[in-house]
């Protein structure tokens, strides 16, 4: 019995190098497989949440995300709605008649700052391929 256990232990120990090689060489496949795990999604407080609407305003493609209230065990009373401007305009932009959290608002933004009617700006960043504007909302 002890000998059988020993043999099994040596076999298991020998598989260590093979496991590492398989993991790294097949990294692409393992990554894709791991994406099927239920928790493999970035929290909405960082990703902005799912896109619920796409509109075009003044030749700008706008994506509106879902309402996000951060928290793990319970949602915070203060959240945000993320708006993506899917280009990088050089100038001032004006986005009229956006329906955000059951309110119609107008957003205006320059490369330096953004403003929205009826909403406070939580965050405004300019990325290489888009602008992200987050509007504060409350429950």
């Amino acid at each position: 019995m002890k000998k059988i256990l020993s043999v099994f232990a040596y076999i298991w120990a020998s598989l260590g190098t093979l496991t590492i090689l398989v993991a790294f060489i097949g990294m692409g496949s393992w990554q894709q497989l791991s994406l099927n795990l239920p928790f493999m999604r970035v929290d909405p407080q960082y990703s902005g949440g799912a896109v619920v609407d796409s509109v075009v305003r003044n030749n700008l493609k706008i994506s509106i995300h879902e309402n996000v209230f951060p928290g793990v065990f319970r949602q915070s009373g203060n959240g945000f709605v993320q708006i993506d401007v899917n280009q990088c305009p050089a100038d001032t932009i004006r986005i009229d008649s956006l329906l955000i959290n059951n309110k119609i608002t107008t957003i205006s933004a320059t490369p330096e700052k953004a403003e929205a009617d009826g909403f406070e700006i939580e965050d405004f960043v300019k990325l290489a391929d888009r602008w992200i504007i987050r509007l504060k909302i409350e429950k």
């Binding site: 232990a9 260590g16 190098t17 990554q31 493999m40 990703s47």
Partner: protein, 376 residues
């Protein structure tokens, strides 16, 4: 007193080459396999990296001293990793600091220590509470998930001495002085890392952010950190610098122990739990033990109590090298302690070293290329 033999005895070069050859092939496979081209500096760096890792492995096998040569490879990997990492960040975003833009675009590299803070949110809310990319870029979440799973199962806490690109820092600083200034360090301090694990996991879930990363990680000082834009970010950067200075430089220097890894790192505590199911361990053959206590003095992880390695052993091999009678040895659970010690050591060193080369080899080559580029 018989000095333990370096298993085949010094001079059995043939058998050393026999073991070295497959590892050399693996090193070349992992470092050359996906890389091609590049300028002269890159190609030279790649060759030097292959030669370096090959040489260190050969010396581990030939001399029978695990820790001495492992440490060289480990420390060099940590230093060059950080150089390559910072350079990568500067290329991508122009700075080693990050701001809102990187957080909102989810491009922050995912570090293995973050795993400890992700457990509760992943279980409760089924999300990853980190502004990283799932598949793209350097250190994506899915890639790190696979890597963490791999080393947790194969190495257990051995990752802390054979893979962690942060661990090399305090491993290095703990070896600078010949003798410790603070001679006695209570082994009980290692339980602090378990407390860190529990509190950080819970605090992260409560605060809905990776709090260890946001507030405490010493290695933010040598990798990436938040841009200083207000008082809070200033305080954070002061904390990062202080914890690095105290836990990674000063205390390891004075105690010759890996203070940050042994007493502070929550990932180390989590991996200690994996040690329970890991097939490899370091064990004391009490029939040969003479009770000199050299193993306990040598252990940098505060893991040896009453001459027996405990849960927090990182399998660095320092106690094995220090033991004058060969009582301390690498062992495979379920096998006799007094037989096949050479095989047990070899079966551990192969996956451990393969992991080190695979995880850090590319960064070592990149870091080296940057240094070579300064001169040519």
């Amino acid at each position: 007193m018989n000095r333990k033999s370096n298993y085949w005895g010094t001079g059995r070069i043939g058998k050393s080459i026999l073991l070295f050859a497959p590892m050399m092939m693996l090193i070349m496979l992992m470092l050359l396999g996906s890389a091609s081209g590049g300028d002269a500096a890159t190609q030279i760096a790649r060759l030097i990296t292959i030669a370096f890792f090959g040489a260190m492995f050969f010396l581990i096998i030939y001399t029978g001293k695990t820790d001495k040569w492992r440490a060289v490879a480990f420390i060099v990997s940590a230093l060059l990793f950080c150089i390559a990492f910072i350079h990568n960040l500067i290329l991508e975003r122009g700075s080693m600091t990050f701001s809102n833009a990187e957080e909102l675009s989810c491009t922050i590299p995912f570090c293995h220590i973050v795993t400890t803070m992700m457990i509760i949110p992943a279980a409760v809310k089924q999300t990853i509470l980190f502004p990283g990319s799932l598949v793209e870029g350097f250190a994506s979440i899915s890639a790190m998930f696979v890597i963490v799973l791999c080393f947790s199962i194969v190495l257990g806490r051995g990752f802390c001495s054979w893979g962690c690109f942060y661990g090399g820092w305090d491993d290095g600083t703990s070896r600078i002085l010949r003798k410790p200034v603070i001679k006695k360090v209570n082994n009980s301090y290692k339980w602090f890392s378990f407390a860190m694990l529990i509190v950080m996991a819970l605090w992260s879930a409560e605060a809905a952010e990776p709090t260890y990363c946001s507030w405490l990680c010493p290695f933010k000082a040598v990798t990436e950190n938040e841009r200083i834009v207000d008082t809070i970010t200033l305080i954070k950067n002061i904390i990062f610098t202080l914890t690095f200075a105290v836990l990674v430089v000063v205390l390891p220097l004075l105690t010759k122990k890996r203070i940050q890894c042994a007493t502070f790192c929550p990932m180390g505590a989590l991996l200690s739990l994996f040690n329970k199911i890991n097939i490899f361990e370091v064990k004391n053959d009490t029939s040969k033990c003479i009770g000199c206590g050299k193993c306990e003095k040598a252990c940098p992880m505060l893991a040896i109590e009453k001459r027996c390695p405990t849960l927090t052993c990182s399998k660095c091999g320092k106690c094995v090298d220090a033991c004058p009678t060969g009582a301390m040895r690498f062992h495979i659970k379920g096998t006799p302690i007094d037989k096949h010690t050479t095989i047990a050591r070899t079966l551990f060193i192969f996956p451990a070293y393969t992991f080190l080369v695979t995880l850090c080899g590319g960064s070592v080559a990149n870091g080296l290329a940057l240094i070579i580029n300064l001169f040519i």
